[in-house]
Point group: C2
Chain length 461, copies 2
């Protein structure tokens, strides 16, 4: 066995007991809301056939997919094909000859594969959620990891805008439950962006247009204007765009203005109509939300080529942080696997960022309840013999309990309880053995009282 100083693979993380309790708290909260809205959990394998993944994320994405080396004599295949190993820059050509599997890059493509493969078993509309890690060979940096969890809910096979409205409600309910109080659920629609590009007479430049105006938050109107010019827009175009980008007022006012601006764009008007209907649904489900946290934002684009209808993004206003969630409607999710005409809409929660936000705001609930609740001390054989049945009684009562596994000094046992965040210690010494009343010590306050076994269990429950 090698005797090396161990390290983590670059960009990956261990999660300690405390971190796991907190991460599970976030995931469990979000999952419980997904379930309440009728979403069911699925899981897909970490490894997919390479051909399932390649070509789905663009050239840059393909490079970031972790490929798995074939097992056994993997050079056999390239040798058979007389592959020229020493030609320059031929790693890319070799890859498909020595790798046929890869790690999941996101949860959406595996979900599309799942829907196609299980189309005869699932009832449409199919509402699924999925919380699993994904892997990307990105350069690691603060807040960006090579392994991270995605937390997605999607519905396929329903074009009803009720789905969009419910996703707004899901965001609201889950983030509220996590203790966030001031956040914005931004809403846009790809069709409105198309309408605007039509209006200017440059529908072919829609991607350039949206990439630029999506940066309004960061670089301001001057920056956006500069970028638009660089991307081929004239100053006449800018005059048309400016009032649209700077649209003000509440949601209804914005939609009214847009109706006038886009009066001649069929697509644009359809986008407006969709947004109106989503807002109406939300108002019926959660009165008041449309007036406060749900805000129309025409500059929102988020990977525009992907989305075809509504687009979501969620930001907290309590901490400086990028978006903590996003999603939208995409037509033809499963077309890439030969099943045409299935529309879908989905959202994602940014669990790592939500973790950082909750930590910064001190919103994680007291975790003591989640770990061991009480430690029984262990001084000698007699005390241990007294403690063992008590230990069983505590556990039978549903109380997470430990007996220190060997006789040791009290100080050492207290340190153990402290380090593990155990809130109570039961002390069984000579005195307690005689009276049959162990002492219960509250580790936070230092208070200590002698109690009968029944009272002690009652106190800890």
């Amino acid at each position: 066995m090698s005797n090396i100083k161990p390290s983590l693979a670059k960009g990956t993380r261990d999660f300690s007991p405390l971190e796991m309790i907190r991460r599970n708290y976030i995931f469990d909260t979000i999952k419980s809301v997904f379930k309440k809205y009728g979403y069911a959990e699925i899981q897909t394998p970490a490894m997919e056939n390479l051909q399932t993944l390649t070509g789905k994320y663009g050239d840059e994405g393909d490079k970031l997919i972790f490929k798995i080396l074939n097992s056994g004599d993997f050079l056999k295949e390239p040798k058979k094909k007389e592959f020229d190993f020493n030609a320059p820059e031929n790693s890319n050509q070799l890859t498909p000859l020595i790798s046929e599997k890869a790690l999941r890059y996101d949860l959406t493509v595996p979900f599309a594969r799942y829907v196609v493969m299980h189309q005869n078993e699932i009832a449409l509309p199919f509402k699924r959620f999925q919380v699993q890690p994904v892997w990307r060979a990105d350069r690691p940096q603060r807040g960006r990891y090579r392994e991270f969890y995605q937390c997605d809910a999607d519905v396929v096979g329903s074009d009803s805008l009720l789905n969009e409205a419910e996703f707004a409600c899901i965001y609201h309910e889950a983030l509220q439950k996590l203790g966030l109080r001031d956040f914005t659920i931004k809403l846009n629609n790809r069709k409105i962006l198309s309408g605007i590009a039509e209006l200017i007479g440059k529908p072919e430049l829609i991607v350039d247009m949206t990439v630029a105006i999506d940066k309004l938050d960061k670089i301001g109107l001057d920056g956006v204007s500069k970028e638009l010019v660089e991307r081929g827009f004239t100053s006449a175009d800018l005059e048309i765009l400016k009032p649209v980008i700077l649209l003000e007022g509440n949601n209804a006012e914005k939609l009214n203005s847009l109706s006038q601006v886009l009066a001649h764009s069929e697509t644009g008007l359809k986008g407006i109509d969709e947004l109106k209907r989503v807002l109406d649904y939300v108002e019926a489900l959660n009165p008041g939300l449309t007036a406060t946290m749900l805000q129309l934002d025409i500059t929102l684009a988020r990977g525009l080529n992907y989305y075809t209808g509504c687009i979501f993004e969620v930001k907290t206003n309590e901490v400086a942080m990028g978006s903590i969630g996003g999603g939208g409607r995409y037509d033809d999710l499963t077309g890439m696997f030969g099943l045409k005409g299935l529309t879908g809409v989905g959202i994602s929660f940014g669990a790592d960022r939500i973790y950082d936000v909750l930590e910064e705001l001190g919103l994680f609930p007291e975790t003591a309840m989640a770990g061991t609740r009480v430690l029984l001390t262990n001084f000698d054989a007699a005390a241990e013999a007294f403690a063992l049945p008590l230990l069983s009684r505590l556990r039978d009562a549903g109380i997470a309990a430990e007996l220190y596994p060997a006789a040791a000094k009290l100080k050492k046992q207290f340190s153990y309880a402290d380090a593990k965040g155990i809130p109570y210690v039961v002390i069984v010494g000579g005195e307690e053995l005689e009276s049959g009343k162990p002492a219960l010590k509250n580790m936070a306050t230092g208070e200590q009282e002698s109690l009968t076994i029944d009272l002690l269990i009652e106190r800890l429950q």
Copy 2:
């Protein structure tokens, strides 16, 4: 985008909503017991540095580790080293030059790495559990997958036999909770096996001896004897071994017999003493268990080279199935990473096999409660407008509810509820709109009754 018929990577599985509910039921049950005994959850990354894993699982194991191809121009390194790609059988030599990461092969080695890397943060004894997938490039077959979950609990830094006793109790409690009623927790001790090998005067053949006698269940005494002879034991050896292998009686009787047989083996007597103390602890914690389900089995070995003290294996007697759990004590878990002298003991639950057992015995609880509880029908805009606030009220009451997302024929909506296993449907048609009393239909019995909203919510809670 390629338009291919999608498939799963060989040896991997998707998990459907029903399978997820059942798998979560198993994992949640086991986790809840781990927690009650003071074990805390950790997670480690799917990817480890290749050198963390190689050399830990033997040559055969090393071959089964999935290696991850380096990103970018991975041929650069072997070219720099003037690697001879076309030499025969040189895949193995190339691997470390083009791969520096690999997929987790089990949870034990990453746990050892975790303990060494976090030794200054953790309090010893460190009791952790971990439920995560592992990957092995095994040939897939019925019941053997290339991706499967392991479900482990280990404690390091305590040589107290209380830990062993508690693991027996954990097995008992978790399997009971899962509804199993007839199972056997087999217990042995490596030191007893060493003592027996000493007794024969062939301590160097301990592995051969145990590999053979471990097969008693499968090939009977004749088969074992034959194999022992093939492995270098004489008929005189067999005469000594036979009564030990065929040891009968209850645990105390077996230990008494062994005390006589191994009277001159210090190691053997230590093993007997350890087993006695484990049995005493179990008796104190769970009176009766040692007389019924916890059984001494001298033929039990389980990867003997690994274990140094007690060895566990769990079998159900209700279904023909291999072991559904196993574990034991290993000295020097972290020595491979330079941290000497830490002893550990751990157990594992075979979640896939437990799944199959519960399914075969029909022990999964009614799953209807876990998914959507009620579907609201959708006929037209008026019915939908009536249903939306009801939908919110149901969810506010904690009831998982869905509104069918578009107007559709009743038959289609019932089919959807059926396919998803939704137990109740609320019908809102013209009549119900007029009376304000929707009809609640029980999908199992077909019964239907008109109820006020308040009563309806009460009925569904």
